[in-house]
Symmetry: C2
Subunit: 237 residues, 2 copies
Amino acid sequence: MLDQVKALTFDVFGTVVDWRGSITREGEALARTKNIHGVDWAKFAEAWRALYQPMMQEVRSGRRPWTKLDDLHRMNLDRVLRDFSITGLSEPEIDHLNHVWHRLDPWPDVVAGLTRLKRKYILATLSNGNVALMVNMAKRAGLPWDVILGAEIARAYKPQPEAYLRSAEFLGLRPDECMMVAAHNSDHEAANALGFHNAFVPRPTEYGPGQTKDVTPSRAWDVVAKDFGELADRLGC
Amino acid sequence: MLDQVKALTFDVFGTVVDWRGSITREGEALARTKNIHGVDWAKFAEAWRALYQPMMQEVRSGRRPWTKLDDLHRMNLDRVLRDFSITGLSEPEIDHLNHVWHRLDPWPDVVAGLTRLKRKYILATLSNGNVALMVNMAKRAGLPWDVILGAEIARAYKPQPEAYLRSAEFLGLRPDECMMVAAHNSDHEAANALGFHNAFVPRPTEYGPGQTKDVTPSRAWDVVAKDFGELADRLGC
């Protein structure tokens, strides 16, 4: 059944890259440079991320016209900076901080795992991140994608069906020729309902040491692997 | 002035890959397998390619709704098979032949040149080929693109401005942060009018030994290089 899979389509934030750790590190470095005191940057990262789904929901619902993720991130950042009473950043500094999402670090197993998987499969991003974000992240981190697909190309945010279906369509593949790779059960539920195969790679510290969500599969997904190395093993790469 | 260039955007058919030679070789192999006699496969390739611009013009003009290149190629193939009186191919065989565009071979300098250029620049396709065609070609030939852009993503065929402008926009770049790499002066004229920089890499045998068009630059383009190795030299890669 998995023999028909030709492309692996990847969730990125959380699955491929460690947004919480990366933003925490960059925030702490910024705080030292700019003499910002008393900010818990892990909490800052979590607060910024917490506004992600509600803001995309504005677009999904049609209340807001299509807006790329960089711009949603910026509106959310302005709010989080206010909530954490962080002042004294210039416009270029805020803009640079907003682009931290282009500079997220991958989990340690990612580059080696993707390099193995790429020999056998088309590797596509199927993320809500916009194209420039995905391209800049990949250049910096050495992520060997074959193609950048997902929300901006489809003009629909996951879990809307169009995000998955249009990505498969751009590859000239049926959904059952694609396998979603993601650390989030909700992403798998949405993709599976459309016919995608599913490889669940939990990232149990994505939200920090106390994480309880998405540490185990919600259903018997086709593959469950602890990291991209084990995924490559399981897929015979 | 070229210091601001962050992405190289590539024309593909003719500039990166040798469509005429590749189709000729595959046609000749097919003829041996299927006992097809008396076909000049270089002429066949040229005839198929000659229908390319008129068919895209149907889409550009709005007379035909958006249609991806694989499907335009197929309509043209059906006609060329009739014109060359080639019969006896099954539907799967015709479909396979239509996908020869996914299996075109690069010019000998391409893979090494792109590998050098990739260290310094974002490498994007900006072709009229559809995404699946570009991805399959790249996997087979080892073309190290960072991102697949161009006509299907923009839903506009070059030289329509949207094909170039939307590709730059997806990268989050201004046109003058992009450099078009192409073997065709007309592609450079269109991109240059929008603010792109231009690297002309002539492919003087794209149309065979008697080629007279596009063997020299029509204007003083920013860079003129004989192949992708010289282009990498000129751009300090």
